[in-house]
Amino acid sequence: MRNPAVWVVVPAFNEAATLPFVLGRIRLNGCRAVCVDDGSSDATAAVARSSGCDLVIHPFNLGQGAAIQTGIEYALDRGADYVCTLDADGQHDPDDLPRLLHALAAHNADFALGSRFLGTAVDMPAGRRALLSAATRFTRLTTGLPVTDTHNGIRAMTRRGAARIALRQNRMAHASEMLMLIRRSGLPMVEVPVTVTYTAYSLNKGQSSSSALRVLAELAAGLLRS
C-alpha cells in the first residue's frame, strides 16, 4: 500500500527570511510543500525554489486567503490525500503536522484545526489574547462550531474535506470563512493542541488589532454577496 500523499500549503508574501526554516521542517516531517508566492517583492520565490518545494506564483498580491485556496487546488490537482496549511512566518511549528494528521485518522474527521488555547501560545501579547478570545466567541456564535481558537492558520484536512473548501475571502476574513465552510460541509472536525510562537517578526507581519473590524466588514459584505 502506498504512503498517503500529504501536501502542505504555505502561503507566502515577502517571507524570504523565514521560509527556509519552515520549508525545511515540513520536509523533515515527510510532507510535500507547495509555496504560493503571493506577489512578493523580495526573494521569496527564489528561496522556495532553491528549497526544492513546489512553487506557484500569483502574478500580483491577492491576499492570504486567495493564496491558500490556490495551494489547496494545486495540491488536489497533484493527487493529495491530505492537505495541510500553515503560515510562512514561522509562528507555527511544522512538528505539529503529524499530530494533526494523526487526529484526522484517530477521530475519523475530515478537518483537524490547530488550537493554541488547547496547546501553547508562546509570548502571546495580552491584547492579542483578548482579541482572539472575543473572535472565538463570535465564531462560535456565527458558525455553531465548538471551537476554542480561531484565525489559527495551522490545520489539516482530508482530500474530501479540502474539496469542500472554496474560499472567496481573499484576505484575513478567510479564516472565519473557512470555519463557515467546514460547518456548511457537515463533515466532522476535531481540534488539536498546537504551539504558536509569537516573535517580533510574526507580530509585525500578522494581523493588527484594528484588522478585526475589517474582517467583520469583509464577512458582512461576503454575506450580502452570497
Binding site: 500569483h58 487546488e73 450580502l224
Partner: protein, 117 residues
C-alpha cells in the same frame, strides 16, 4: 411643481437602478426600490412627510426626505462596493488560473540545466 418633477425624475431613475441592483443583490435592490418609492410619495405628498417626520421625532418633512436621500446614496455606494468585490473575485480566479497554468507549464518543461550540459 418643477422641483417635484425633477425629483420624481431622479427618484424614478433610482427606481430603475434598483431593478438592476436587485439582479446582483436582491436585498439591496429591494431597499433601494423601497427608499425610492417612499421618496416619490413624499415629494408629491409633503404633508405626509411632515406628519411622518413629526411622528419619528424629526422637525420637518424636508429633513426626512433629505435623510432618506442620504440613506439612498449610502445604499448605492454599498452596491458599488459589492460590485467591486465581485470584480475582484473574478480577477482572483483569473490570476489563480494563470498561476496554476504556469506552474504546470514549468513541470512540463525539461530541465534547462540538463539540456545545456
Amino acid at each position: 411643481m418643477i422641483a417635484q418633477l425633477v425629483l420624481t425624475l431622479l427618484l424614478g431613475g433610482m427606481l430603475a437602478y434598483a431593478f438592476v441592483a436587485a439582479r446582483r443583490t436582491r436585498l439591496l435592490g429591494a431597499a433601494i426600490a423601497l427608499a425610492s418609492l417612499a421618496g416619490i410619495f413624499f415629494v408629491w405628498s409633503p404633508q405626509s412627510a411632515n406628519d411622518l417626520a413629526h411622528d419619528v421625532g424629526i422637525g420637518r418633512g424636508a429633513d426626512l426626505v433629505l435623510y432618506l436621500w442620504v440613506v439612498l446614496s449610502m445604499l448605492v455606494a454599498l452596491n458599488l462596493h459589492l460590485r467591486l468585490k465581485t470584480q475582484a473575485e473574478l480577477t482572483t480566479r483569473l490570476a489563480r488560473a494563470l498561476a496554476l497554468r504556469d506552474s504546470r507549464k514549468e513541470d512540463d518543461e525539461p530541465d534547462r540545466g540538463e539540456l545545456s550540459s
